[in-house]
């Protein structure tokens, strides 16, 4: 029992220390963030936090890597329910409704007192603010934001007799290119697939690219009504299913998200859809020349936005809230946002970040970095509803059932819609 006793005393002492420290001079902030460690993203977050701490000795920031986006929201909610929430966190923009429903976060409007602060609130790309505001209040500040783009292997294009500088622009071209790019060996086994739209974990996100291109929105702005059984949604799913089932340009079955970049590097696929947050990863690791383009269009161009926003948590002192606000203002300022974008590929969330000298230099060297920004013009808000975790799971299950051939697209989506209706009925 001695160990436990020592531990409880240590814990008690630590808690005491923390609380006195807070009231005395330094403000302690705990900050959860969800980028893969080992990569430049985590190093950059750490470096930025250190830089801020060096300039502001009265603030102590404990940046905690909390795992994937999914891990981070789960961890944060667990912490909120356990009474030990972080002071600020980067969490998927779509979890805003969930966080509001849990009464976990506060809007930024109350913290933005000066005119400069109020102007700052409106300085971000409107496409990113769609998922950051509700009821006229701003709950999230865009930071780690992304959008899916198309990456293609220029060498494979050349080999297949395609122009290496021109990616497919339409759904039809995507299939036609895919057929040329799919290579089979003497036994008829595929050695290189034409394309890859990963579908594990959160297939709804890339699927939303297809639905947007088919000119249909998956849920209303109020977040209480979904549109899963719309004929245009069914058509989009049919297209996705046909890529493997009918046209045989994509591997059948569920395609793993995590191994997609590796599959691209290994020449397993000639084109892939994935987040722009992978841009630096691809730039560093692809052993061939590659291109980055907007997703192909059908009825229109389109893609969802994605990625994480900053949130400030309710259960903290006023000093902590103010300090969090200052830190978020600093880290999303043009200089810092530019550093972040250059290190990772995430889209700098405000236009003036793209005007900084560092960024200008970067895009001059590496024009593909502009693709994601330019695509914002066509982007829509990522699917977000009340009971978001559950609703997206319902849609994910339906998509997976259709992709694996267990259910027909129309039937799968009808069932999903019925179930979503049942859950969202309480919120209308």
């Amino acid at each position: 029992m001695t160990l436990m006793k020592t531990m409880t005393t240590t814990l008690g002492a630590a808690a005491l220390l923390a609380s006195t420290a807070t009231t005395a001079l330094a403000v302690d902030l705990q900050f959860f963030f969800p980028v893969a460690v080992g990569g430049k993203a985590a190093d950059t977050i750490q470096a930025l936090t250190d830089e801020y701490a060096a300039a502001n000795p009265d603030v102590k920031i404990d940046a905690v890597y909390a795992g994937s986006y999914q891990d981070t929201i789960t961890k944060t909610l667990t912490a909120v329910r356990g009474g030990t929430p972080p002071q600020l966190s980067v969490i998927l923009s779509v979890d805003m409704f969930t966080l509001i429903e849990e009464d976990a976060i506060i809007p930024f409007d109350g913290l933005a007192k000066s005119d400069a602060d109020k102007a700052w609130l409106t300085s971000f790309y409107p496409a990113f603010m769609d998922n950051s505001m509700t009821g006229g209040k701003t709950y999230g500040i865009p930071f780690q934001r992304s959008t899916p783009v198309l990456y293609w292997n220029k060498e494979a294009f050349k080999e297949a007799g395609l122009d290496p500088e021109t990616p497919p622009a339409t759904w039809e071209e995507q299939i036609a290119f895919g057929k040329k790019l799919t290579k089979r060996d003497a036994n008829g086994n595929v050695t290189q697939w034409g394309m890859r739209i990963p579908s594990s974990g959160f297939p709804y996100w890339l699927f939303q690219g297809l639905t947007t291109q088919n000119d249909v929105i998956l849920a209303n702005d109020a977040g209480n009504k979904t549109n899963f059984d719309d004929p245009k949604v069914v058509e989009a799913l049919q297209y996705l299913v046909d890529l493997s089932a009918k046209h045989e340009v994509m591997q059948p079955g569920i395609i793993e998200w995590g191994s997609t970049p590796k599959a691209f590097f290994e020449g397993q696929t000639a084109m892939m859809w994935t987040t722009t947050g992978n841009l630096t990863n691809v730039r560093d690791n692809a052993p061939f020349d590659f291109g980055v383009g907007m997703l192909p269009a059908n009825k229109r161009r389109g893609a969802p936005t994605g990625g994480g926003n900053f949130y400030i948590f309710k259960d903290s002192t006023d000093e902590q809230k103010a300090a969090s606000f200052e830190f978020i203002k600093w880290i999303t300022a043009p200089e810092q946002a530019a550093k972040w974008t250059i290190a990772t590929g995430y889209v700098a969330p405000r236009p003036d970040a793209w005007e900084t000298p560092a960024m200008k230099q970067y895009v001059a060297d590496f024009p593909p970095a502009l693709v994601a920004r330019d695509q914002l013009e066509y982007a829509v808000a990522e699917l977000s509803t009340y009971q978001n975790q559950r609703i997206t799971t319902i849609l994910n299950d339906a998509l997976e059932a259709a992709i694996t051939g267990q259910k027909a697209p129309a039937a799968a989506l009808e069932e999903a819609q019925a179930e979503a209706d049942r859950i969202l009925a309480d919120y209308r």
Partner: protein, 296 residues
């Protein structure tokens, strides 16, 4: 009962005192939560400012109508039905091998046991590479023989099986240790006697070794039952229960319901099912095997 009652009562007090610390914790973290789980399954989930209210059997009605639940239940039963006999059988085979004369026995034993030491959550990533279509290890080997690639984890017919293989790999070596200890305590004279009588190795195994191992088999298989419902770490990494819940297991679904959707009442209802299932299985096993076991 000739002892004075004072001593007897002192013995009672001593016994109870010795038990108290363990019982307090047992009640706090096993018995009480088991009871409150059942209790909570008759209430709704408190959300925001809405309090939990008594809903009778509504959670159970939801359960009966929940397709995902039935799928997950059937997955869990399959998972148990396959992983338990296979891992126990393999464990016995492994133990017989490393107990006998074998060149490089140290290495073989280490190889069998290594998975026990490695965290499942970490090795799941390794297995994920093995299963990766196209450039994964299995497909590289298949490719060398001219076979097409297989999307092991992305095909609903294969995902659960792929997850089972990892569980068997993880478990067998652990159970082997128990068998090995049991084998090593079988007197060598028995084997010599059998050899003199001209009994074949198989007869010896069937008539002598296997019956002597019965208590171990009971012990190991009770453990295997519990583990088969408890071991879900690799599902987090490899499939997240997909595709379309094809590889989701009961405890994983409970975790999702409780800590992703925060529907604690429904999670309690699911937990009740798991508790009932475990009790039924373990009791059944106990009575079935106990007849053939001679415990000291």
């Amino acid at each position: 009962m000739t002892r004075p009652s004072l001593t007897l009562r002192r013995e009672w007090v001593h016994g109870w005192l010795l038990l108290t610390p363990a019982l307090v914790l047992l009640f706090a973290f096993t018995h009480l939560p088991a009871v409150t789980t059942i209790w909570d399954s008759f209430f709704s989930t408190p959300r925001g400012r809405r309090e939990a209210k008594f809903v009778g059997l509504r959670n159970y009605e939801t359960l009966l109508a929940d397709d995902t639940f039935w799928q997950v239940l059937s997955n869990s039963l399959w998972y148990a039905a396959v992983t338990i006999p296979v891992s126990v059988g393999l464990a016995l085979l492994m133990a017989l091998w490393v107990d006998g004369r074998l060149s490089g026995r140290g290495f073989v034993r280490l190889a069998y046991f290594a998975p026990t030491v490695l965290p499942l959550i970490a090795v799941a990533n390794i297995w994920m590479f093995f299963y990766t279509p196209g450039f994964g290890l299995i497909d590289q080997i298949r490719g060398a023989f001219g076979l097409p690639e297989v999307n092991w984890l992305g095909n609903p017919d294969l995902a659960l099986g792929s997850v089972m293989v990892v569980a068997i790999w993880k478990e067998a070596g652990f159970f082997m240790i128990f068998y090995l200890a049991a084998l090593q305590s079988i007197p060598p004279q028995l084997r010599e006697a059998a050899a003199i009588e001209g009994a074949s190795r198989w007869t010896f195994f069937r008539r002598v070794t296997f019956p002597l191992l019965m208590p171990t088999t009971l012990f190991v298989s009770v453990n295997a039952v519990i583990n088969s419902f408890r071991m879900v770490d690799h599902v987090f990494v490899m499939t997240e229960g997909g595709p379309d819940n094809a590889s989701s297991l009961l405890l994983f679904y409970i975790y999702e319901t409780a800590f992703k959707y925060w529907d604690t009442a429904y999670a309690s209802t699911l937990t009740v099912v798991l508790l009932v299932l475990l009790s039924a299985l373990a009791l059944g096993q106990f009575f079935l095997l106990d007849k053939r076991v001679h415990y000291r």
